[in-house]
Symmetry: C2
DNA sequence: AATTACATTCGGCATTGTCGAATGATGCTC
DNA sequence: GAGCATCATTCGACAATGCCGAATGTAATT
């Protein structure tokens, strides 16, 4: 691990959390002397990854990271293969649809199909949800190859709401269910009033590369069998497009 | 400029251009020995900025860059202030609306309001357009503080279509017009069949921090005075929200 | 005007990253 | 299926590089 590169990324991550930071705040956060941080930030600024507000002289993320994010989306085969099916899933069920991938212990949303009722909704692409508190996350965690309860090995499960599963044994049982059916559920665990049904998506190597979910207001929970069936069908179809030969169940 | 950080960003930039690259391709592109690149890439992978495809062992951008991009958007005051007004501009004119910021010699789109005719359109947030070939770019370049024809100092203007302004003198004249009126125009210069009217957006320090534009099919070009007026009003309104005290004209 | 807080520059020291050479992994050819 | 070729990855010695204490510049505050 190259020290300065690692530090540079930690600068970006810090700015990700705090939006705008002065040099000394950054230095304190990273536990490094200000001149050291300054050198790193200088380099990031030169490439547009970070910009410095002229009036306050504080730093924040720059437009270059947006361009990177956009290219990432274009690169993802999962995304391009999902889009049409996600739209259909939304139309058939009447719910918003999310597609996500796993990043360490979180899920990153790579596609978002708004509810087809015409209501104005924020795009959710790029947002991050703790994997343990989301159906999308559970769907992928259940199929991690390295028999992973990495999550369970580390610090206790992050709790988002009162409904977040906190007990490791309960969590393991849920994952076992997911492995059987291919479907994962979440009710109020990440956001109150929001529940999801998710299906894992596999690629040709048989790994879970992503997951697709419908987002359901908890007032309409539990959903009909038709909806869970639609999620299952969508997840299986996308998997097949990616070259997967098998799907659970 | 810290060497290894600079190199890491150049790795990301290379992956941005080529989507997927093997280590040796990367090394050749950066003109560095493979082990050097490997160390950098290793660090990027550890943070999810880059992922390695298991089957082909090639590298591509990772989900962490998407999250960064999303946070950047959230941070931007310009974006949050623009959204409502961009929507109104779209409704009133019937055209798609873009909001962009300057990044070196390019414009990065930070907000995109689709044409309100209900047709399905790709989101354009994060895409990059050469500043010299776009109305958005001209609107901002005209007000760069350091009397900048940085663009004109460097290599010749990048040409996107036959209509791209290539002559430096002509370009300077256009910028002078923009300084007078606050509005910039573009007809087929970036993409054939696509024309734009853009207005610069200023912040409280009087600097052009962005620009807003309507995107018009060239078949409907030139647009009516009502449309250019609407763009001007929108740009001025957003500027005022950002604390600007004056606007050209 | 004086003071404080902060960003930024400078330069010597030693830590750090660099890159040639060696090893391991994978896929291709005969 | 053995041998070969290509590419990713590891290792380690050297010295170039980046690190950070001290000094300076800058801007806001009293």
């Amino acid at each position: 691990m190259i020290q300065s590169v690692d530090r540079a990324i930690r600068v970006l991550t810090a700015l990700q959390g705090a939006r705008r930071m002065s040099l000394s705040e950054l230095a304190e956060r990273l536990e490094l002397p200000p001149p050291t941080v300054h050198g790193i930030v200088r380099t990031l600024v030169a490439h547009g990854m970070v910009v410095q507000d002229r009036s306050s002289s504080r730093y924040q993320l720059g437009p270059a990271v947006l361009r990177l994010g956009n290219v990432y989306l274009d690169t993802l085969e999962l995304r391009s293969r999902s889009m049409a099916w996600a739209e259909e899933l939304g139309r058939r069920t009447g719910f918003a649809v999310r597609v996500g991938v796993l990043m360490a212990e979180d899920v990153v949303i790579i596609h978002h199909e708004p509810r087809p009722d015409g209501s104005r909704q924020m795009p959710e692409v790029g947002i991050v949800i703790p994997a343990n508190a989301s159906a999308l996350g559970k769907a992928m965690l259940a199929f991690l190859p390295d028999e992973t309860d990495v999550l369970l090995a580390g610090p206790p499960l992050r709790s988002m709401t009162g409904a977040t599963v906190a007990d490791p044994d309960e969590f393991r049982r849920q994952l076992a269910d997911v492995r059987k059916t291919g479907l994962a559920f979440e009710c109020d665990e990440a956001v109150l009033g929001e529940s999801c049904v998710a299906g894992a998506v596999f690629d040709s190597t048989g790994l879970a590369v992503g997951a697709v979910a419908v987002v359901v207001p908890t007032t309409e929970w539990p959903v009909s069998d038709a909806v869970t069936e639609a999620v299952r069908t969508t997840a299986r179809t996308i998997s097949r497009e990616l070259g997967a030969t098998r799907w659970p169940g």
